[in-house]
């Protein structure tokens, strides 16, 4: 087993040309940051044993930039990068700088091609469809290879934070079990220690100041989505945002880190207090965003849009809503708007104009947002005629400032695709509890979401939405990886909400999302 996990070949390696381009980007970025030097730049943390303060990596549409606000780190023996336990995994196995601190299926597939099941990402505990399958068989890892999803095994019934079982408001049946894990005698729902396996994408560990903090007006701890109390931080300083994880089962960064080590790195020793402190302080100061586009060029040049790039993410304030035409979610793109004759404009200028139109659509293209539990039943009405930014409202990141639990239907009937490779559950809610507002009391889903933690019928299918940063570097999308491309994301929304985008508008939306 390689000491730091498999070293990945980089196509062509860090050529002088790449270094030159990246250095040029960096020099502009450094102009924004003003406190780093060119020596901070390098292209490979895996070979150098060092992650620089700023690094730009190739991705399918350009380059993703990763900024460490506190400066470079030596990866050797760093708790984020150090493999731990028999699986050989580290945090960086699934939160990869090259993938905006998330994980793309391109990288997963390259790992299989080069290392097969010896790549730690394919660890049997969750990197295979089910641990009971032959691990050296590619088909046993099909969900990770095709969707980029890991198996999340959750106890049933759910437990409260003290480990006490919660009486769920619904029964759950396994209707379809293509992975075999939910009906397995040792691992499944009818086992001696009943668990439910669902399959979810890893989230990016970056830009967390936006994700972890809660708007001032809710600091007293009221969850507007559930009308129950929002858990308070143990130090009495505010409340948890509940936006960190897909189902909010862990609320604080240290809880998430500890849970990830326990669940995804089996057999790894518990972190020392000092290592946990290092890990939390490291993950809190990472910023990731696209820094270059193959067509638009440098995204973080001086005088460019203030919402792009990791330096702007590090500098900007948190807690601002962007559902307004003059204060949009990803700031203003005025300098990119079309000027002059589009026929004679350069490709870069035309692409930039398309991005600006995409931002406008995101804010002002209204449509009927309907049947979304977690938004429409909160007084806005069903439907509510609003734009993307109603839900994706947080300036700079596009998540929901309130706890972003929603059920838009990516994982359940009637809106999800027929995802025959994923398990299908039938959930039947008790008559004496509030029903799911738009699906009632019998619901078919691939992933019950938050309800697997809370046990509440009304929260079936609710998944905390993700931030929009570094999208180009970390396909596929949605928590179950059901959209392979940004175009499929846009198509899903267009179909789901009958938005009626034109072909040009769809392309504008894709271009806009790809530069974030």
């Amino acid at each position: 087993m390689p000491k730091y996990g498999p070293l990945r070949r980089r196509p062509g390696g860090p050529s002088f040309l790449k270094l030159y381009v990246a250095a040029a980007i960096f020099s502009c970025a450094a102009g924004q940051a003003g406190n780093t030097s060119a020596a901070d730049y390098t292209a490979s943390w895996e070979t150098s044993g060092r992650l620089e303060a700023f690094t730009a990596y190739d991705d399918p549409t350009g380059k993703i930039g990763v900024l460490l606000a506190d400066g470079p780190v030596i990866t050797k023996n760093h708790p984020f990068f150090r493999p731990s336990g028999p699986s050989g995994r580290s945090c960086a196995t699934c939160h990869v700088p090259e993938n905006a601190m998330g994980l793309s299926t391109d990288r997963v597939r390259a790992g299989w091609k080069e290392f097969g099941d010896k790549d730690p990402v394919f660890a049997m505990i969750d990197g295979s469809n089910c641990p009971n399958l032959p691990q050296n068989d590619e088909s046993s890892h099909s969900l990770l290879l095709s969707r980029g999803v890991f198996r999340i095994s959750l106890p049933w019934p759910p437990r409260d934070p003290h480990g006490k079982p919660i009486q769920p408001e619904f029964d759950i049946e396994v209707v379809r079990d293509p992975t075999g894990c939910n009906t397995d005698r040792k691992l499944g729902l009818k086992s001696a220690d009943p668990h439910i396996s669902v399959y979810r994408r890893p989230r990016i560990i970056a830009n967390l100041k936006y994700i972890l903090n809660f708007p001032n007006d809710y600091k007293f701890g009221f969850n507007v989505k559930t009308a129950f109390a929002q858990p308070g931080a143990p130090d009495g300083q505010g409340v948890y945002s509940m936006n960190l994880m897909a189902d909010a089962r862990f609320l604080a960064l240290d809880e998430q880190h500890e849970g990830a080590i326990k669940d995804h790195m089996p057999g790894a020793p518990k972190l020392s207090a000092e290592d946990m402190r290092r890990l939390v302080s490291f993950t809190r100061q990472i910023y990731a965003a696209q820094v270059e586009d193959k067509t638009a060029g440098n995204l973080i040049e001086a005088g460019g849009p203030s919402g792009l790039g990791p330096y702007n993410l590090a500098k900007a304030d948190i807690g601002f809503s962007g559902e307004a035409i003059d204060t949009p979610v990803f700031q203003r793109f005025d300098q990119w708007r079309a000027k002059g004759d589009p026929e004679t404009a350069s490709d870069a200028a035309r692409f930039r104009a398309s991005v600006a139109r995409g931002q406008d659509l995101f804010i002002t293209k209204t449509f009927l947002v309907r049947d979304v539990a977690g938004i429409n039943h909160l007084g806005v009405g069903n439907p509510a005629k609003r734009a993307c930014a109603l839900c994706h409202n947080a300036q700079m990141t596009g998540h929901d400032l309130a706890p972003g639990w929603m059920n838009i239907g990516t994982a359940n009937w009637p809106w999800a695709k027929n995802d025959y490779d994923l398990p299908l559950f039938k959930l039947t809610c008790r008559q004496d509890v509030p029903a799911q507002p738009y699906l009632g009391r019998i619901i078919y889903t691939n992933d019950p979401g938050r309800a697997l933690v809370s046990g509440r019928c009304s929260e079936i299918g609710m998944i905390t939405m993700q931030q929009f940063r570094g999208l180009a570097a970390r396909a596929p999308y949605f928590s179950n990886g059901s959209a392979k491309t940004l175009r499929e994301v846009v198509d899903f929304y267009d179909r789901r909400f009958q938005i009626g985008y034109t072909e040009q508008e769809k392309q504008d939306m894709v271009n806009f999302l790809s530069v974030l």
Binding site: N393, A402, P437
Partner: protein, 269 residues
């Protein structure tokens, strides 16, 4: 998402109006019916209108809100019937619906898939509120521009001064619903804050359930479990906000009574 002082004032005024309850009802003919809501999809930037259908007659019940969470009017939901209560008003139809005064709309909890009508604007003028829909309103701050105006932060009221009094706080609900929206949560926070500020000995929670006579004579009663769910929710919120469970005394009023769609917190020094 970030709300300002004006929002709180508007919300406070609304809550006072709720608290005033039936006393403010005056001359118009009382209307109470259960029917399907209907959305009239106005041309942007006007916000959509909400109507409700009582037999062949459409009533105007309100405009889609312009904040999230909404402060003034919790709009109906398609796929659910609504209980509409109010008084027939005078004047022109609004968005194609007869005006109602003192209107209250409750979204009924069970699904009704027959309620699924969205009407085109049909040339009707927008409703009485002319503020534009949120995407077209002015924002409250730009994260990357410190010179851009910031929304004022919420400031809690000053703590009470002795001698302390017994104070009662009232919280109203929609029919058959225990959900609490953000504006109403301030009432619960107020009760908890008063309890802590005066180091109170007891907080008494009196929970009621409602009985409504519709215009056609039908009697509607809130589900017997609703009062329990309202009490459970209050316990969750109050104890999280610092009121010990041992000092909360809960009285559930088993009998449904007209006007009983509320609960009270009584804080005793």
């Amino acid at each position: 998402m970030i709300v300002g002082k004006a929002w709180y004032l508007r919300t406070g005024a609304l809550l006072l109006l709720f608290a005033a309850g039936a006393a403010s009802y005056a001359d118009g003919k009382r209307v109470a019916f259960v029917g399907c809501p209907v959305m009239r999809d106005m041309e942007m930037p006007a916000r959509p209108c909400w109507l409700a259908q009582d037999g062949d007659k459409l009533y105007f019940v309100g405009m889609q809100g312009d904040t999230f969470p909404p402060a003034a009017f919790y709009a109906p939901q398609l796929k659910h019937r609504v209980l509409v209560e109010g008084e027939e008003g005078e004047g022109e139809n609004i968005c194609g619906g007869a005006p109602l005064n003192h209107v209250k709309v409750s979204v009924l909890p069970e699904l009704d898939l027959s309620c699924d009508t969205v009407l085109p604007s049909g040339g009707f003028a927008p409703g009485p509120e002319i503020r534009p829909s949120p995407p077209f309103r002015k924002g409250r701050g730009l994260a990357t521009d410190p010179s851009y105006p910031r929304a004022p932060s919420y400031a809690p009221p000053p703590p009470p001064q002795p001698p302390f009094q017994v104070r009662t706080f009232r919280l109203d609900f929609s029919f058959d619903d225990d959900f609490v929206h953000l504006p109403e949560s301030f009432i619960i926070i107020g009760a908890a804050a008063y309890f802590k500020d005066i180091k109170a000995s007891k907080l008494t929670l009196d929970v009621y359930r409602d009985r409504v006579e519709l215009t056609d004579g039908t009697i509607l009663q809130e589900d017997a479990l609703v009062a329990q769910r309202r009490a459970d929710r209050m316990l969750n919120l109050l104890t999280t906000w610092g009121v010990p469970a041992s000092k909360i005394e809960t009285h559930l009023n088993a009998q449904a009574e007209p006007g009983g769609r509320y609960l009270t917190f009584t804080v005793a020094p």
